[in-house]
Symmetry: D2
Subunit: 355 residues, 4 copies
């Protein structure tokens, strides 16, 4: 039995913040000890939170006061979860690391620092060793670990086992994403009612860049040159949670869908081997139904709910090209759940302990 | 000035039927002379129609009685527009052709008869000569001409000029389609609210098959072997009109986006040369805005509204692969408008006249 | 500790059926023993069900086979839950009652039989004594108890305590209801996207009629003549679960909102006194926030989730008229949860036992 | 034939601004001469506008430059339409009035100034004489005339003819409003997808207050004391245009629905008598269909489209209470169209001329 670790959640009333609160309410050894916020400091959590997820505010959290985002007030906190928005996150996370805190960030600000892991625990767990380099170079006791953009995870999780085992030429992706990925207030309603909203070049490009980094950090079983070509076209529509992604993969040689299915179905990562509490039995759940996965019915897949990516519609387009579709819960696996799983891996590997 | 032709609209109260009624209300020489229906025979059109489009029921049509779908009652009708549903359409259309009527069908039933044109007037106008073969073989005075599935048109219209001028290796398509494409009652609301609904293999495959036939019938300017590989992944979401399609194109040699843009921008077809009344100036309208086209804002593009396909987001993925996005008004260009344009071409070419 | 009762769920794959399955999975003494269905007989439940609710199919249910709706196959079943559609339900429920089964019905077919209770356990629990009359008159060992239309419950639950304690002149109601109330496939998507769908006179009238019966069966603390006038205007929009109802109440004398709030806040019924397992602490949860209740955030209120009706926006319109708003989870409190609570009351009162 | 008047549209790229541009494109004597904006000054209109309405940017307007909101730049402008947002509108409108411009405002800022008309041309046309008082008191050559909140108009238009002819005790209103009423960006998507959003006390109250003022300014045919009691409960849902309002009316004596229908059906106002170009034949269009009006199908009713309010579902609740439902196009009749109609009345009455 591990000692209980106290977590602080920054941005705790936001759309990812609430998933941290919800998931940690039943966590075996990480408990919410500090709810940080901005506009709502001094008020009870339940009064100010917009609980846009399943269930209700956990009873033991409801009356907790929202407090300032200040490391000096967090003496008894062991771990920081930071789903802060882009721009705001960067300097705050650095300050926490300087104060000696382990920071798990869902924000983009440090995702491409060469000494900061961009971690999906099942896929590139060995990148946590960057922490040693980070501490040395930056001369701080704490550290920052980031998790990728939810959109990138929806593609990277199914692509990674394929990439580890096959020589891929290119992958062309189209996403149909949910509103919660943009936070609140986020997307104006008039942009998505009776509409499809393209997210534009910048969003497309960052998706590609993150997937590229993650794949390049996998342990490959094939002899290949790593020069994969990726394309992504990203959109939002009027769904609340869950990103839907159509992924075409073209290989450098002939491929069979059956082998790809085997590869995806048998995929397990370090979190499964270590039986981490937030690790689902299978990071990828395959469906062979013709009209699945669907956002409404599959976003909460796995145990804990929302931690498995559902993959289906596997189909051979031509001898070298296959098609697959994934549904990922963007604020769970793609953010808070991914952050908790990262924390568990870091605990297991000795990077986080009672302070 | 042409003599006025009288048109009968089969399924006139359906979602494509109403677009025929709306568009023909301002047509220079085709007038609605007969409104055929099923459940609503004997009632005034306005009373029974569900006018799920812009504007209102044209005054001169509002009180017209809906009548049976019977060629023997249509003595003074010169042309039949048939947006009947799959299965129902086939035999009815044959009966009308036997009775000597020119039938323009938006239904799938005869789309792959080898002697029936699958016509997009800008793209494969010469295929109307199949009518001669059809009349001979089937020994009927009338004829059937079909227009493709709206989804296929949304990809085929931008792909065709590219295919005519470049050697394409493959094209991988993802569609985000509107509800009206499925008719009424069509898609249950619980399938699309807070959801993405995959249309499944059958729909994917027919989309690919139709695009393949259309492209194979273009007049190509390049020396190529025609063995294009196509993939399509099709979906509906809660939009009312307008299909959104992401189209990746991989070429057999290096390509530049600029040349593709030029090709699309300068594309004109026979209808433009003949200045057919329902032909837009440009079948393809290019946008270079980062977040366009959008379904809500671009589905009614062109003049007549909804007859131009809006294409944008042209981007180089790698040296041989580009990405583009199209928005097509599925019940206008993709159905009724395409049917009227086909009729105009057939009139111009002498296949339809006062009976 | 009670003996475990085995329940059969008719229409078990429908939108109310799945809530029965979900809620009974954690019930202390009622277990799902038989899943009846129609189109899907012989198949495992998980394969055929459309799980349009929270969570996932309970593990112990997932592989259960769907079986025919036949009392002769249900020897070890103690209780029947019948959320069958109108028309189909009536004769089936009678057959089960004849075979000696207690039938809890969410269907309208028997709601106005004078010897059949129309039961909201907190409001008219004493009406279960009609069962004795029913058995005698119909000469069957089993019985039928109905629960009201979800829409009627959303108004009747807050109106009842007011009606018990005050002399009401009239109540004028407007509902904004969710799609799941109409079942699947239910409402066509084109009827509710970018629209408000009026449900029409018939639906308005049955809502009024059910509320009237329920209120007339309450135990009143005031001397009044019961001639309340009710009006209801009912609609559906594109929400998945949760009915929203605006309720204006005009009294026969001056009234203060404060007293109404007290009355609603202190309201408890027989299920609360008996501490029935599915009874929420408070059948009515009051909110004083200006923009609450909201469907998305309040439909799952209470414990068990969805069993409390959230009431808010209490406001004085004039000296004799107040306004309040309610949100009710239509398939939980308004159907399956109400059915289970009814069963618990009937068990407690000795009407249901191990057969 | 009138001389052409040049109009300036303030906030011309907003949701009401675009309806002014659209409607004036076919106006017989008011032409758009100046497009004022804020963020987009110096750019061509088509490039910066979000055309969230039917049709396309009129050709003659597309390239017009957006210019500053400055009366000194508008020498050749004869009339100002001001759909500016609350707070911003007030001082700007005063400045224009001081510079001698007639200002038609859709903003709330001056709606309750005692010398400013709150004008629905069919209902209280004689209130334009307040302009004389306004000019005198404020010592300016121009003037300000306001039009009511769209929500208030949706109830006031059908209530006014009833109020003129019958003694009303109270009216209790529930609205289901569209997103465009809140402008852009307006309502966050996460507030309305799968939800009903209450607008709160402030919005309810201003709706009541405006309806009260308008009704109090009608010319009544009955001897009554004017102390009508009103209540309103207001909401937004995910519809784009069109407000839906359920209106219960309780009279001081027995009433028959038939007489109310007659009253509404025969209602015509000053604009109809004067045959103003933007006046629909009937300000109120009655429907007797059970499931109408509906937002999607009725918001564009009348000629010009969107200028008639559709009223239906007339029903007797009890001897003194009836129910009716209205659909109003909030940005047309409820804003831009109402503003143009007001301008036409003012032209006709000599308040606006070529400057």
């Amino acid at each position: 039995m591990r000692r209980t670790l106290k977590a602080a959640i920054l941005g705790s009333t936001g759309l990812v913040g609430i998933e941290y609160v919800r998931m940690l309410a039943s966590h075996p050894y990480i408990k919410v000890g500090y709810l940080a916020g901005k506009g709502s400091v001094g008020k009870p959590y339940e009064e100010v939170v917009r609980w846009q997820t399943v269930g209700q505010v956990p009873r033991e959290i409801a009356d907790m006061e929202v407090k300032p985002t200040d490391p000096k007030l967090m003496d008894d906190v062991d771990i920081i979860f930071s789903p802060l928005p882009q721009g705001a996150a960067g300097p705050v996370e650095e300050e926490f690391a300087k104060h000696g805190f382990p920071v798990i960030s869902n924000s983009p600000d440090h995702r491409f620092d060469p000494d900061v892991p961009l971690l999906i625990p099942e896929i590139n767990p060995h990148t946590i060793s960057l922490i040693d380099k980070q501490r040395e170079r930056r001369d701080w006791r704490g550290f920052i670990v980031t998790t990728p953009l939810c959109t990138a995870q929806g593609a990277a999780i199914p692509l990674a086992p394929i990439y580890m085992n096959f020589r891929i030429d290119s992958s062309l992706i189209t996403t149909i994403q949910s509103l919660s990925g943009a936070g609140y207030p986020g997307i104006p309603s008039l942009d998505v009612v009776d509409n499809v909203l393209p997210l534009g070049d910048n969003y497309d490009n960052k998706t590609v860049k993150e997937i590229s980094r993650i794949l390049s950090e996998t342990k490959r079983m094939v002899n290949d040159d790593n020069n994969l070509s990726l394309g992504a076209t990203t959109h939002r529509i009027a769904t609340i949670h869950g990103h839907y992604e159509v992924i075409y993969v073209t290989f450098k040689e002939d491929v069979s869908v059956e082998k790809i299915i085997e590869t995806l179905d048998s995929f397990r990562g370090e979190p499964q081997k270590l039986k981490l509490p937030t690790a689902p039995d299978k990071p990828i759940l395959l469906t062979n139904q013709d009209a699945r996965p669907q956002v409404y019915f599959d976003r909460w897949a796995g145990d804990p709910p929302g931690m498995s990516v559902v993959v289906g519609r596997l189909s051979q387009i031509n001898r070298r090209t296959i098609r697959l579709v994934s549904v990922i819960h963007n604020t769970v696996r793609g953010a808070a759940g991914g952050g908790i799983l990262a924390a568990e891996l870091l605990v297991e590997k000795g990077y986080i302990d009672k302070r």
